[in-house]
Amino acid sequence: MKTPAPADLQRWSDELARNPASLAFLPLARAYRRLGRKDLAMRLCLRGLEEHPANVEAHALLALLYLERGERERAADEWSIVLRLKPGNFEALRGMGFRYLEENDIPRARQHLERAALIRPADAAVQEALRLLRQREASARLEEVGAEPASAPQEDEMLTLVEEVWTPDLAGFPSFIDEDPAAAGAQGAAAAEPIELREEDVEPWAVAPADEAERHAEAVDVQAEPAPRRETATAIGDPGRVFETLMIGPILGALLLDARGLVLAGNLRAEGSADDIGAIIGGAVDEAKRTVSYLELGGWRGFLMEAQSAVIHVSPVHPEATVVLAAEPGAPTGWILRTAEQAGRLAARFLEAYP
């Protein structure tokens, strides 16, 4: 594994200091990860995702960082985002495959692992998992017809495999994550490399990297501030979770609709499908605008409808987009209005990211 050169660190750091929206956060975060400065790497990654919420490599790197911290749920969250953005991403398919194995969701585990195997047929962990899955399924079928079951893999055997793969050092997780962007295509060779920094790989300047790392972090203005809320980066990257941070208490969810009433992002805990609700509610928007225009009330700011099983607030966030926020009946009106404002801000950020 290539050790990051001080000159590169300096260059990426300077670039970020000059332009916080620069993509230099990615190689810098990778470099700090290799140097063992994983907290710094994570902060850089989260900050970078605020500027580049759809950056697949940043989500994949974040997944790896979470995995290395033992935060499997969060790693799985990031992989699921990666798969929405890039359905053929090997690491995410494999990671989610093992995640589902761990949850004993065999059909979804198989689906993800088979797709991973198509992309990288030589991956030993994926092949082993599929072999065990096939054995288990064959055994289950024999049992169904009353035949003597073959020796099915024990639960322990599966879980041991899962544990091995969840341990990144054994899994060869790095692939493109640890590569320079220019070499991102050469995934196969990189997959076999260990990903942890070995002492012998560290240049003298990096053996005690704390000061240097802190200095670079300050240069990109991540050290002095509290770490950004993880939900922010996640929510913006995943259309279904844009409004996730608002989903507390009586809030049933929120949808971002385009001018045709089509759902762009968000979800609702409601009886009907989000698409149907979007289309139906979106249709009332034109009528509302016409009434405001006739009454010469200035710009349309939204409407609030109280119904039997929900309170709905609809407001514009863009000339051609509206946000629908739903809450349980009886939710305080002022609170709904404030939450709707927050939803509007999240929606605006989403639209900026996906114009």
């Binding site: 249709g283 009528e287 016409r290 009434t291 006739y294 009454l295 200035g298 409808m305 099983s309 709905i312």
Partner: protein
């Protein structure tokens, strides 16, 4: 005009910031009774607001949210607050700086008296 209707309108009209109050027959889109500031056509307001309320009530039902009870339209220059009462809808046209909480409450109470 029935006393119930007149009382509902008067009650609503006396809330600070209310520029006009109407009771509208939703099906016909015409005002049953109205008290609005000069310059506002009660007929046009009744037609537009009733259409909006009816449209939204249908949307609410179709979306699975059930029957609509109140509707509050927000704009830079003011608000329209509506509450349903069977075939009727009570409409209040309100200034932007009005005490909206009180307007909403009075509109709902007035609508209840019409049920």
């Amino acid at each position: 005009m029935s006393d119930v209707y007149r009382d509902a309108i008067e009650r609503l009209s006396h809330v600070p910031g209310v520029r006009g109050a109407l009771i509208v027959d939703m099906g016909a889109g015409v005002p049953v009774t109205a008290e609005v500031e000069t310059g506002i056509s009660p007929d046009a307001l009744a037609a537009l607001a009733a259409a909006l309320y009816e449209r939204t009530a249908r949307a609410s039902d179709a979306a699975g949210f059930g029957a609509l009870s109140t509707f509050h339209l927000e704009a830079e220059g003011g608000h329209v607050v509506m509450a349903g009462a069977g075939d009727l809808v009570l409409i209040a046209l309100v200034d932007d700086d009005a005490q909206l909480g009180r307007v909403r409450l009075e509109t709902q109470r007035a609508a209840e008296t019409l049920q």
